[in-house]
C-alpha cells in the first residue's frame, strides 16, 4: 500500500471533476455519494499508508513519488512529486478524517440548496488542494496547494453569491491571502538562490550537512532569517494572524460546514504546517522564532478580547479560532513543534465540533445567528447541547479532555522555555477563551432571563446525518488528549511519531523544571479555565452580575471591543481608500489623460495652429501676392549680391 499513497489527493480531484462537469444532472443522492465517497476513499488510503509508514524504520520514515517535471528552466527544476513524512501524515489524517465527517454533515445541512452539486464540487476541490499542499515534496507544489485552498475558500465563502456581503467577503479573503502569498513568493526566490533547489529534503539536507555554511544567525537579520520571516508572513496571511486576520471573521458569511472545514480545521492550519515543515530553517533563525512566538501570543490575546463581546455565534467561534491559532504559533515560536502540532490536531476536532454544533443550531433556527435572539434550546435540541457542551469543556481546557492536554503542553513549554511574559499572556488568553465559550453555550442553550421572548420554541433537532458526525467529533475531542500525554502522565505517542520529521535539535527546548513544577503549572492552567467558566456562569446563568452594567462602566472599552478595534475601518482608510483615490485621480485621470494624452494631443494642436497661421497668408488680394512676389525677387537678388 505504501507505493500507492500518492493516489490520496486524486480521489477528491476525481470527485470535483465528476461533480463539476455533470453534477447538475445527477440526482441529489448520487452527488452526496460521490462527494463523501471520494473523501472516504482517500481517508481509507490514508489509514493504510499510515500503517505502512509506521512499519518504516525510523530514519527512512518517508515515501516519495515523482510524477513528472512541472517547470524546468536552466538550473531551476520543480517537479510534480508527492511525498509523505510523519508530519504530513498527521495532517493528511486530520484533513481526510475531519473532512469526511464534515462532508457527511453538510449533506444534511445543505439539503435543498439549489447549488447543492456546486457546493460539493468546491468542497472536493478544496480537499484536493489541501492534500496537495500537505503532500507536496517541494515548496512550489506546496504553493500550488496554498493558492488552490485560497481559491476554494474564495468560492465557498462567496457560495451564496447573491448576498453582496458574501461576495465581498470572498474577495477580501482571497486578496488578504494574496498579500501573504506575495511575501511567500519572495521567500521562495531567496530559498532557491540559497540552496539551488526548492525540495524540502534537498534544503534540509543542505542545512544538516553543511552547518558551517548556514550558521545560526543569532541576533542579526541574515538571509536565513529574512527567508524565514518571509515564509512566516505568508503563514500569517493564510492562518489569519495579526495583521492579516481581518478576512477570517468576514469569512463566516459562507455556509457553516465551510467555516468548520476551512476556517477551523484545515486551511488555517496550513500556516503552522509550513512553519513546522521548514523547522530546520526556522531553528537557524532565532530572531524569526521570536517573532513567530510574539506575533502568535499577541494574536491569541487580541482575538480573545474581541471574542468576549461578539453577538454572532459564528463570529465568536471565528475569533476563537484566530486566538487558538495564535497559541499554536506561540508554541512553534518557542520551539515546541510537537506541542503546536498536538494543539492543531485537538483544535481541529473540538473547533469543528463547535462550528458544526453552531451550524445545527442555525439550521434549527432557520438561519438565526445572533446569540441574543437564541435561548433555552436545551430542551428543543438536547443532543446538540450535549455535544456543544463537550466541545466547550474541551476548548476551555478542563482537565481530562483533549484541549487541556494540548493547551497545557503549550503553556508548559512557554513557561519552561523561559518566556514568562508569553506564559502569563497565555494564561490570560486561556481564561478569556473559557469565558467566551461558556458565554456562547449559556446564551444559546441557557434559559432567557425574565421572559425575554426568544423564538427558541420553533427550533427542531437536526437530522441524524448531522448529529452522528457531531457525536464522533465529541468522542474525538475527549479521546484525542491521550495521544500526547505530558511526561508526568504517560508517553507522548505523537512526539515519538513526529520526531524524525522535525529538525533534530527541536527537542532541545525541553526546558528545565522537574515533573512537580509541570504538575503545578497544569493545575494552575486548569484552575484558570474553571475560573473563566465560573465567571461566565455568574454573568449569564445566576445573573449575579449584569453584563450591560459592566459594559456601562467601561463604555469606551466596550465600544472598542464591540467594533473590533476599528481594524477594518483602519485598513479601509489607510490602504484601500487612498490606493483607489491615487489610482483614479493621480494615475488615471491626471497622468494618463492629462500628461501623456495631453502631450500627444498637444502636438496635434500645435501643428493645427501652425497650419492656421500659414492659412492667413492666402489673403486673396492680388496685390498681397504681388508684394510677396517682389519680396521674393528682392531676397533672391540680395542673396546673389551677398554671396
Amino acid at each position: 500500500m505504501s507505493d500507492w499513497f500518492w493516489i490520496i489527493p486524486f480521489f477528491p480531484l476525481a470527485g470535483f471533476l465528476v461533480l463539476g462537469l455533470v453534477g447538475r444532472r445527477l440526482p441529489v443522492a448520487a452527488v452526496s455519494l460521490t462527494a463523501c465517497g471520494s473523501v472516504a476513499l482517500s481517508f481509507v488510503t490514508a489509514l493504510f499508508s499510515w500503517q505502512a509508514l509506521l512499519r518504516q524504520p525510523d530514519e527512512a520514515r518517508f515515501f516519495s513519488q515523482r510524477l513528472f517535471t512541472w517547470i524546468a528552466a536552466g538550473n531551476f527544476q520543480a517537479d510534480f512529486s508527492f511525498g509523505l513524512n510523519p508530519l504530513s501524515m498527521v495532517m493528511v489524517l486530520v484533513i481526510t478524517g475531519v473532512g469526511l465527517l464534515i462532508h457527511i454533515y453538510s449533506t444534511g445541512y445543505m439539503h435543498g440548496d439549489p447549488g447543492y452539486p456546486r457546493f460539493f464540487a468546491y468542497l472536493n476541490l478544496f480537499l484536493f488542494a489541501m492534500l496537495t499542499l500537505v503532500m507536496a515534496e517541494n515548496y512550489l507544489l506546496l504553493f500550488v496547494g496554498w493558492e488552490g485552498v485560497g481559491l476554494c475558500s474564495y468560492l465557498l465563502i462567496g457560495f451564496w453569491f447573491e448576498k453582496p456581503a458574501a461576495a465581498s467577503a470572498g474577495k477580501k479573503a482571497f486578496l488578504v491571502n494574496r498579500i501573504g502569498d506575495a511575501a511567500f513568493l519572495l521567500g521562495l526566490f531567496l530559498l532557491f538562490y540559497q540552496f539551488g533547489t526548492l525540495d524540502f529534503r534537498g534544503i534540509e539536507h543542505a542545512l544538516h550537512s553543511e552547518p558551517l555554511h548556514f550558521p545560526v544567525e543569532t541576533g542579526q537579520i541574515g538571509t536565513l532569517t529574512l527567508t524565514a520571516l518571509l515564509l512566516f508572513v505568508g503563514a500569517v496571511g493564510k492562518s489569519a494572524q495579526i495583521p492579516l486576520y481581518v478576512w477570517l471573521p468576514d469569512a463566516m458569511e459562507g455556509p457553516t460546514p465551510v467555516s468548520a472545514l476551512i476556517h477551523a480545521a484545515t486551511m488555517v492550519t496550513a500556516g503552522i504546517y509550513l512553519v513546522v515543515r521548514s523547522s530546520a530553517l526556522f531553528t537557524r533563525a532565532p530572531l524569526a522564532m521570536e517573532t513567530v512566538a510574539v506575533v502568535g501570543m499577541l494574536t491569541a490575546v487580541f482575538a480573545a478580547t474581541i471574542g468576549l463581546v461578539q453577538r454572532d455565534i459564528k463570529r465568536v467561534l471565528a475569533y476563537s479560532t484566530v486566538s487558538q491559532l495564535g497559541y499554536m504559533f506561540a508554541a512553534v515560536g518557542v520551539g515546541a513543534f510537537v506541542g503546536g502540532m498536538f494543539h492543531l490536531v485537538t483544535h481541529a476536532f473540538f473547533k469543528a465540533l463547535l462550528f458544526l454544533g453552531a451550524g445545527s443550531v442555525i439550521h434549527g433556527l432557520h438561519g438565526e445567528q445572533d446569540l441574543f435572539h437564541m435561548g433555552n434550546l436545551r430542551k428543543q435540541m438536547p443532543r446538540t447541547f450535549a455535544v456543544m457542551l463537550v466541545g466547550m469543556l474541551a476548548i476551555a481546557g478542563v482537565p481530562g479532555l483533549s484541549g487541556f492536554f494540548s493547551k497545557d503542553e503549550i503553556l508548559w513549554k512557554l513557561f519552561s522555555s523561559g518566556h514568562t511574559w508569553l506564559w502569563i499572556a497565555g494564561l490570560a488568553g486561556a481564561a478569556m477563551t473559557a469565558f467566551y465559550t461558556a458565554r456562547l453555550i449559556l446564551l444559546a442553550f441557557g434559559s432567557r432571563p425574565h421572559g425575554e421572548e426568544a423564538h427558541g420554541h420553533a427550533a427542531h433537532e437536526s437530522p441524524a446525518v448531522m448529529v452522528v458526525p457531531l457525536v464522533i467529533l465529541a468522542l474525538l475531542s475527549i479521546a484525542a488528549g491521550w495521544i500526547g500525554l505530558p511526561a508526568w502522565l504517560g508517553t507522548n505517542h505523537l512526539e515519538e511519531f513526529l520526531s524524525p520529521a522535525l529538525a533534530v535539535h527541536a527537542e532541545g527546548a525541553h526546558g528545565a523544571g522537574s515533573h512537580s513544577t509541570e504538575i503545578a503549572a497544569a493545575a494552575l492552567s486548569s484552575g484558570i479555565a474553571l475560573l473563566g467558566i465560573g465567571a461566565a456562569l455568574l454573568f449569564y446563568f445566576y445573573r449575579r452580575l449584569d453584563p450591560d452594567a459592566l459594559a456601562g462602566r467601561f463604555p469606551f472599552l466596550y465600544r472598542l471591543l464591540r467594533n473590533k478595534y476599528w481594524v477594518d475601518e483602519l485598513y479601509r482608510g489607510v490602504f484601500v481608500q487612498p490606493c483607489l483615490w491615487i489610482s483614479r485621480r493621480v494615475f488615471w485621470l491626471y497622468w494618463d489623460q492629462e500628461v501623456i494624452d495631453g502631450l500627444v494631443n498637444g502636438t496635434g494642436r500645435i501643428l493645427a495652429g501652425a497650419g492656421n497661421i500659414l492659412r492667413r497668408l492666402q489673403s486673396g488680394s492680388v496685390r498681397d501676392y504681388a508684394a510677396w512676389l517682389c519680396a521674393g525677387a528682392l531676397t533672391v537678388l540680395l542673396y546673389l549680391l551677398i554671396v
Binding site: G74, F174, F189, F587
Partner: protein, 535 residues
Amino acid sequence: MKIPYLLALLTYLPAAGGILVLLVNGAQEKVIRWFAFLLSAAVFVLSLLLVASYPLPAAGYVLEETLGWLQVPQLGITHHMGVDGVNLFLVLLTTFLTPIAILSSFTAVHRKVQSYYALLLFLETGMLGVFLALDLVLFYLFWEVTLVPMYLLIGIWGGERRIYAAVKFILYTMVGSLLMLVAILYLHLQTGTGSFDLLRIAGQLSSGAAALTRTQELWLFLAFFVAFAIKVPLFPFHTWLPDAHVEAPTAGSILLAGVLLKMGAYGILRFCLPLFPHASTAFAPLISLLAVIGIIYGALVALVQTDMKKLIAYSSVSHLGFVVLGIFSFSLQGLQGASYQMLNHGISTGALFLIVGILYERRHTRRIEEFGGIARSMPHYAAATLIIALSSIGLPGLNGFVGEFLILLGSFAKNSALTAVAVTGVFFSAAYLLWMYQRVYFGPLTRDENRQLADLDRREWACLIPLILMAVWMGIYSQPFLQRMEGASRNILHPIQSNQLVAREASPDFRPAASPKPAAGESRIAPEPRSFPHE
C-alpha cells in the same frame, strides 16, 4: 514530410485567402465567414506541422528559408525567413488565435462583412511575416503591413471614438517604426555587409568585423527599442492601448492584445539584445524600472476603470511589464519566463476580450455597473470567465503562474528590491480582476435586462474551450514549450554573457562565500539538486 517553402506558404496563404474573399461577391456572407474560418484553421494545422518537424534539442535557427526569386540583389534585401525557439510558439499563437477571432465575430459583424474578413486574413499574414522574417527590411515591411488592417478594423467597425483611437494607434506605432527604419538603414551602411540579413549583420557585429562605436550602438539601440517599447506598450508609451482596445471590435482586440503586443517584445528579443549587447546591459536597469512601474501603474489604473475592456487593456500593460522585466533580467529563467508569459498573455487576455465581447453582444454595453448577478442567469459563462480570470491572475496550476514565477525568479537574482515591488503587482492583478468579477457576476440581480440573458451557445463554447484547455495544459505541463525555447534563449543570452557584460552570473550575494556543491542526498530524495547556477 518536408514541405518546401513551408514558412513562405504559411505566411502568404492567409493573404491569398483574403484576396479570394474580396473576389467573391459580397452578398453571400455565410460563405465568406465559413471560408475565412476554415482557411485560418488550415493555416493552424500547417503551423502544427511546423512544430512537429521541429527537432527538440534545437540550438540555433531550425528552419531557414530564402526565396531566391523574390529579392532585390542590388540593395541586399533577401526574402529570408527562419524559425527558432523564440518565434516558433508566437507563430503558433497567431495561427491559434486567428480562427478563434474569426469564429467569434460571426454574429458580431454585419456591416461590410467581406472586407472585414479579408482584413483579418491580411492581418494574419502581416503578423506571421513579422515573426518569421529574418531580413531587417522584410521585418519592417511586415511590421507596417500589420498596421493597415488593424487601423481599418478599429476605424470602421469600432466603437464611438474609433477614429481618434485608430489615428492615435497609427501615429504612435508609425513614429516608432520610422525611428526603426532609420536605424535599419544606418546599420546596413555601417556594417557594410551590403545586406539587410539579420544573421549576417549579427555575425559581423559579434565577430568584431564591423564593430559599432559605443555611442553608435547606444543610439541604434534606442531607435530600435523605442519602436518596440511603443508596441509593447512599455510604461510611458502606453496610452494608445486603452483607446485602441476599447474602440476595436472583439476580433480586433483579441488579435491586437493576443499577438500585436507580442511583436514589440519579440522585436526586443530578436533585434535589440543580439545586435546591441553593450547598450542593452547599459539600459537594463532603467528599462527594468520602467517595466516595474508599468506593472504597478497598469494594475492600479485597471483597478479604477469603469469600462471592462479598458480594464483588460490596462491589465495587458501590467502583464507585458512582466515580460519586459523578464527579458531585461538577462537570466535564462527570466528569458524563458518572458517568452512563456507572452504565450500565456495571448491566451488569457485573448479569452478575456472574447468574454467581454460575448457580454457586449448581448447587452451592448461594457460598463461594469450595468451588470450584477450575471452568474445566476449565465452560470456556465461565469464559470468559464472565472477560470480565465484566474489564469490571468496567475493562479498556480494555470498558465499565468509559470510565466510570472520564472520571470520573477530570473529578475530576483539581478535586482531583488525591484522584484519585491514587482511581486506586489501579483496582488494588484488579483485585486482588479476579482473586484470586476464580483461586481459583474456576483451580487443580487438588480437589473431585469440581466435576468433573461442567454447562456453560451455552441459557437461561443467552441471559441472558449480551446483557450481554457490551453490555459490548463500550459499551467500543468509546461515542458514541451520550455524545452523548445531553451536553445533560442541561450543563443540570445550568449552575446550578452560572453563578453562578460553580466558579471559571470556569479552567485548572487545571498549565498555564503565558499559553497561547495550541495552533497548528493540519498537516492530517495527528489532528483539531486542541480549544481549551483554558473552557466
